[in-house]
Symmetry: C2
Subunit: 137 residues, 2 copies
DNA sequence: TAAAACTTTGCAACCGGGTTGCATGTATTT
DNA sequence: AAATACATGCAACCCGGTTGCAAAGTTTTA
């Protein structure tokens, strides 16, 4: 419901405007990470630059995180409540090569390996590619 | 030297043409992963589409692998001799947020975590971001 | 060795996602 | 109610990626 969306936005200090609520709703409903254009196509009446700026606002305020894929498109996924998007937070994602959906696998903890001295780690992305359960049956 | 480049190309069944040798040389010399445009800027006289097609050929023949970053650009790095780019091969990369260079950390093994049943893993990318040793001193 | 077939390269044009400037509309403050 | 700030929509632009096509180079075949 709407209130839930508003609360989620407010909890990240984002003013709950109509556009923002719709974009957030879409991201939550689809339950997979979406790119700017994917969102644009699903929200027919909405202007691209509005979605673009909305996604930037979301990312700046740690409501979503970005997941780059091999073709140069970036998809966005809503951070779960525990996600702080802080340094050393590790995002684990699964991209299905068949249906092209990107799943967030938040409950699979991954260790960031020790690096040679001198490397200072700020964040990390782990993207696994393959076939997802629903394409696999 | 040239012969080394030719051998590297031939070992992956790529005909060693002038353009290909130059692109490969540049990738090896710079020792960091480079995007299409980065290569284009370093190789002033060379046509973009030639570089583009060259990179595709390299990738198709497993001479380089692609590393997507957060802004939607894809960088290419020469696979080391052990790298087969096969399923289950895990690429570990480090992107410096300051100098924007991408390093291949091939000697840091990483385990692909166990996923929930139904997920079939084909490949994986692990991108760590932070500050590299030479920016860090 | 010359012609035919194929591959590589360069040029130009295009495409499409991402980005920005600006004007209008909507909310917030005074 | 006026002034200010913020959000939205539109249009235009930018730029990396991609493709079609013709010229140059290479390999094959007769």
């Amino acid at each position: 419901m709407t209130n839930h969306l508003e609360q989620k936005l407010l909890s990240k200090n984002i003013k709950p405007t109509p556009v923002r609520k719709l974009v957030l709703k879409k991201l939550l409903d689809e339950r997979v990470a979406m790119s700017l254009v994917e969102i644009e196509r699903k929200l027919e009446r909405m202007d691209r630059s509005s979605i673009y700026r909305t996604l930037r606002t979301f990312e700046e305020n740690y409501l979503v995180h970005a997941i780059p894929d091999r073709n140069g498109t970036v998809r966005y996924a809503v951070c779960d409540d525990a996600c702080t998007c802080e340094p050393r937070h590790l995002h684990l994602h699964f991209l299905c090569l068949q249906c092209n959906k990107t799943y967030c696998l938040t409950d699979n903890p991954v260790q960031i390996p020790d690096l040679p001295p001198g490397y200072e780690v700020r964040s990390a992305d782990f993207l696994i590619k393959g076939i997802c359960p629903s394409c696999n049956k």
